[in-house]
Amino acid sequence: VGQRFKATFEATAKAFAEIFPLMFGGGQANLSLTDPTDLLTTGIEITAQPPGKKLQQLSLLSGGEQALTAITLLFAIINVRPVPLCILDEVEAALDEANVAHFGRFLKRYDQQTQFIVITHRKGTMMAMDVLFGVAMQESGVSKMVSVALEDAQREASA
């Protein structure tokens, strides 16, 4: 069990270190074990250094940098152990428009192996969707699905 954890951890750490510079356009990041001698209880430390910046503690990263780093970890895990279904509820709220576009492109890379359901109010993310479902509350307090024309939403989003 400890060995399997170690193997999974090392594969995830490798994927995380590879994906981070792709997501951030540079920089570097690492996962490390707080106690490599005790695989059953060790914690996991994250370090992240956006391009051009000094390596500092995670708390100093900006809101968008933290969200993007967490999203990078998500994709690293999916890389190592594909999940059949992945539901993301407004995970890109803190990202600027350029990073939203990065995020959308990354979804497309994994979309063969993972079924993504993405809840969003960001137009940039809508651009990366293949199907859109709309939820509305025409009668107050009662949710109802409504059809949303993807082409219209995407045309509006790219305006």
Partner: protein
């Protein structure tokens, strides 16, 4: 393993029976604030066996049953059904199609079904345990939780690797 259909009836703001058919490709869910998008996420989580009302933003489990509105009375039961294409048998079941249903009544009674056969909650949880949709996994990231990976302690993060292992 692919989610084909989601049926929600009486769960939170979905007073009326709602069916969503998923297709291939990336599915986006959009709509105004408070329309019910996160409720869809929670319906799926609940049907997969979530036992903590807090993880569904409630105080106690009956909070997830439609509580009424201006124009409607409260309902007495909530039901969510998930139908998966299981031709690749990623779910440990002989069925090519797996249907999971969970029902909660306001008096607290619960019933669970696997392909229309009554079962226990634990059977549903076990079915999904090795599929990558387990509780600690990254497969469902709730609204506002993306920052949690940062604020969590190193010891808490190991759960994500354990789940993937």
């Amino acid at each position: 393993m692919q989610l084909k259909t989601l049926e929600i009836s009486g769960f939170k703001s979905f007073a009326d029976k709602t069916t969503i058919q998923f297709n291939h490709g990336i599915t986006g869910i959009v709509g105004p604030n408070g329309s019910g998008k996160s409720n869809i996420t929670e319906a799926i989580r609940w049907a997969l066996g979530e036992q903590s009302a807090k993880n569904l933003r409630g105080g106690k489990m009956p909070d997830i049953i439609f509580a009424g509105s201006n124009a409607r009375k409260p309902l007495n039961r909530a039901e969510v059904s998930l139908t998966f294409d299981n031709q690749d048998h990623q779910l440990k079941s002989d069925y090519d199609e797996v249907n999971v249903s969970r029902v909660l009544y306001r008096d607290g009674t619960s019933t669970f079904y696997l392909n229309q056969k009554s079962c226990r909650l634990r059977d549903i949880v076990n079915l999904f345990m090795d599929s990558g949709l387990g509780r600690e996994s990254f497969s469902i990231i709730s609204q506002g939780k993306i920052a949690a990976i940062f604020n969590s302690k190193p010891a808490q993060r190991r759960g994500i690797i354990e789940e993937a292992a």
